[in-house]
Point group: C2
Chain length 204, copies 2
Amino acid sequence: MPKGQPPVVPDDGLSTKQRRNAPLLAVHTGPGKGKSTAAFGMALRAWNAGLSVGVFQFVKSAKWRVGEESVFHRLGELHDEHGVGAPVQWHKMGSGWSWSRKPGSEDDHAASAAEGWAEVARRLAEQEHDFYVLDEFTYPLKWGWVDVDEVVSTLQARPGKQHVVITGRDAPEALMTAADLVTEMTKIKHPMDAGRKGQKGIEW
Amino acid sequence: MPKGQPPVVPDDGLSTKQRRNAPLLAVHTGPGKGKSTAAFGMALRAWNAGLSVGVFQFVKSAKWRVGEESVFHRLGELHDEHGVGAPVQWHKMGSGWSWSRKPGSEDDHAASAAEGWAEVARRLAEQEHDFYVLDEFTYPLKWGWVDVDEVVSTLQARPGKQHVVITGRDAPEALMTAADLVTEMTKIKHPMDAGRKGQKGIEW
């Protein structure tokens, strides 16, 4: 995509530089593939630019995204050992969040999701990361496990320069309205339609 | 996305495993963001699974994707020095392709694109990489610089188990028909609409 001039220059009292560097809230939604993959691709770029990355996976299954998790752990090590890039943290709901000492209740997904969001909100307030991926976070919103209005107001009030990317199908309208960038991934054709299952290195 | 059973089991004489491990041809198209980013995210996963990665950027501007290029170079070094992941090669059209000794003609983009495709076709025949990203490759196809039918037949006849992901707007119909996976990225909302320019770590 060419850099170029934006089509509109808003009358918001900000300089081009201030506007350019405004923290981004992005949503990747829709039924197609690439929502999370594109979010992790953005995180990669952020890491390379020296932005610390925090990933929060709001899904139960630890089987998925193991490829990305492994690479991001390695990138975090590269930072810690050689000072390149930026720190990386990767937290997943699984059976209790990775920061939590107490074992999570396997059964109470709603409570786990709420706990995850409370921690993200705390970190946003403390500006703990520069770039957040809230992976599959639309589902707890959709299911009412986490309050959409509270999420939107917390995101809008977040201090400093923290970028947030939220992925998942059926993003709530209020979240899309609050976002700076919304991309919908649409499935035109998928190998599962032709009876193919996922494969290592491609699907996970 | 759950792994689960595919909706159809085709009568193609293949075992589930053979079908699962069929090489993938994916196309990321549409006017929205995330087409290339998701392709590089897939490449990341492939690298982690030990698949060698070859990236071919069919765009003139060397300014873009510098973040990804830098990270993938580092991943390639991780492989070469520590044996983790897989080899990585990153080639861009710029002023002549990176494998080419002779300086490219700055002016003849059509010839450069054709040269790039000829090299990719040669590599596919020799099974040089496991995972190819042909970034922004739809444009030379659209502009008639590279023949769509030849591309499709070369891709369909590619030997072994080589995955190919092609990105760019306006993917030709014949390419989408040949592809196993087509995802369209649709722009719902973009910060440039609100007069914001791209920023380091986010856009490049």
